[in-house]
């Protein structure tokens, strides 16, 4: 993927006598668009949400990657960053939010709580021990709470993942190539 990353646009210029022809693969195009336009849902339950806000601020500035269009309605979001503990009462709501999002949709589990329950793993009666019990997760970020850079890294990792998808059929994996 190193080549496509450097490229401004996922296309190649074929030189001809009077100019050139731009050739591109549909898959590359789609993946390029999808990976560069991840609009997160405004969703934060606890401490990690503050670090998510920090990622949006001027110092970390996730708008550089085009992530700043945070949508309040799941209908227009591509990505749900589960920032904070999910408890039993919240789990159905989260599931519902995920269902309300249109495809393609991605999930980032931010923080220890969403990975396993984190600090609230032992002796708690109301915490969901890992958000992947409720919705499928694409990228996990450890930390309690993770630093904003970690969130940016996760989002860039997600971009990498999206670049391996195919519009029709299965994902481009190492074996399937």
């Amino acid at each position: 993927m190193a080549e496509t990353e450097k490229m401004i646009f996922p296309a190649q210029l074929h030189q001809t006598a009077d100019g050139g022809i731009v050739v591109s693969k549909l898959d590359d195009m789609i993946n390029w668009a999808r990976s560069n336009s991840l609009w997160p849902l405004v969703f934060g339950t606890s401490c990690c949400a503050i670090e998510m806000m920090s990622a949006a601020d001027a110092k970390y500035d996730w708008s550089r990657f085009g992530f700043e269009v945070a949508r309040a309605t799941p209908r227009q979001a591509d990505l749900i960053i589960v920032a904070g503990t999910i408890v039993m009462k919240m789990a159905p709501v989260l599931k519902r939010l995920y269902d309300q999002m249109p495809d393609p949709k991605y999930v980032i589990a931010m923080g220890a709580c969403t990975i396993s329950g984190g600090p609230f793993f032992y002796n708690t009666y109301s915490v969901v021990k890992g958000v992947d019990h409720v919705i499928p997760v694409d990228v996990y970020i450890p930390g309690c709470p993770p630093r904003p850079e970690a969130l940016l890294h996760a989002m860039i990792t997600l971009q990498e993942k999206i670049k391996h998808e195919t519009y029709f059929g299965k994902a481009k994996t190492e074996e399937g190539k």
Partner: protein, 373 residues
């Protein structure tokens, strides 16, 4: 997005909307069921528990050293003050006192926490009222404080720095210079804050006279912190029941009598200046000495009940430990400021517009994990 997409059939002509659990203005996962008459709110019913993490139950099985970390996640914007409250309670049980150096460091960190919390609140108030830009200006200074936090205790948000008997480590050698430097910057930016939001006509219209809370109601609802002080109720624990040497410091308790959202806003703005004043008094006078009193490896509190109040950025936090003499608390109760402040919400917002509800919630400054615990 409402929890229930489909209109609810209640009584004829009733229009009920569900604000939350996922909603930009609830600052977390509060769920408000709002009965509307056009745009006017007839009734509000808060539904809590969407982030109820059973911290109280969990703490019953943790040692007196370990239960403190969970409190950082309660009111994560005043994480250090929560830790301090727990440490103070345990110290009260052990009948020891932190050394003067530890106390000074605790106060400095607490005031830095309060400052950063109020900065975040200021940004989010602007955001809630539709002005996005203040958020970025607030976070610019907040990040500077976060860097100090990180340098001092390794974490940006959930510090876990106070331990029974003092603080976990001594401060970084660079601490004093850095704090002084940041304070200079923060002070110069207050004017910018006021220009950006305080004097704005639309902002004043949105907040003045909105969400009135009388002094009697504030006391009766158990409101504390800036929410109550804006109604003219004196309730600053730092003045009423000083801890960690707050009585030796010169600062004012900001009390205003407007009782509306604008007054709550002004109280917080003034409190930021007071915090800076406290930090400036103390930063050059950190006493030398130990940063931690000697405590046993396994702390066991004597049989009895211990209650400690502190002033967080949002009001009075009470830690109530019931001990049966074992190595972990028998029962622990956190009297959280937001819980009581939230209970006044429906009283304040009834009769207001939906837009006012957002303004009221913004100026109460709710942190939902602190409500649910």
């Amino acid at each position: 997005m409402s929890l229930l997409g489909e209109p609810e059939l209640t009584e004829e002509g009733e229009f009920v909307i569900n604000i939350g659990p996922q909603h930009p203005s609830t600052h977390g996962v509060l769920h408000l069921k709002v009965w509307l008459d056009g745009e006017t709110i007839k009734k509000i019913q808060p539904h809590l528990g969407y982030i109820h993490r059973s911290i109280e139950k969990m703490s019953e099985s943790l040692s007196y050293r370990n239960f403190i970390y969970a409190t950082s996640r309660m009111d994560y914007l005043s994480a250090h003050i929560n830790n301090q409250a727990c440490a103070l309670t345990v110290e009260k049980g052990l009948q020891i006192e932190a050394p003067p150096r530890a106390q000074a460091i605790r106060i400095l960190m607490a005031e830095l926490t309060r400052l950063s919390s109020h900065q975040l609140w200021w940004g989010c108030t602007g955001l809630d009222l539709g002005a996005v830009t203040p958020f970025f200006y607030a976070f610019r200074e907040r990040e500077l404080i976060m860097e100090i936090m990180e340098e001092t205790c390794g974490a940006r948000l959930t510090q876990n720095y106070s331990v029974p008997g003092g603080v976990m480590y001594d401060v970084h050698p660079n601490f004093q210079n850095r704090v002084k430097d940041v304070m200079k910057q923060v002070k110069s930016r207050f004017r910018e804050y006021e220009e950006a939001l305080t004097g704005n006509v639309i902002f004043e219209q949105r907040t003045k006279g909105v969400g009135y809370l009388s002094a009697e109601d504030a006391i009766s609802f158990g409101c504390t912190g800036p929410t109550a002080r804006a109604s003219g109720v004196s309730c600053d624990i730092r003045k009423w029941f000083p801890y960690d040497g707050y009585d030796k410091l010169q600062f004012d308790e900001i009390i205003m009598t407007g009782g509306d959202s604008y007054t709550r806003y002004m109280v917080r703005m003034e409190e930021m200046k007071q915090s800076v004043a406290i930090i400036e008094q103390l930063i050059d006078n950190i006493p030398e000495g130990d940063f931690q009193a000697k405590t046993k490896m396994v702390i066991k509190l004597p049989k009895g009940e211990f209650y400690q109040r502190v002033e967080t950025a949002r009001g009075e936090l009470g830690v109530y430990i019931v001990s049966d003499g074992a190595a972990s608390p028998y029962r622990i109760k956190y009297r959280s400021p937001n819980f009581s402040n939230l209970s006044a919400l429906s009283h304040m917002a009834t009769g207001a517009k939906i837009g006012d509800l957002v303004a009221i919630m913004a100026t109460i400054d709710l942190v939902i994990p602190d409500v649910d615990r």
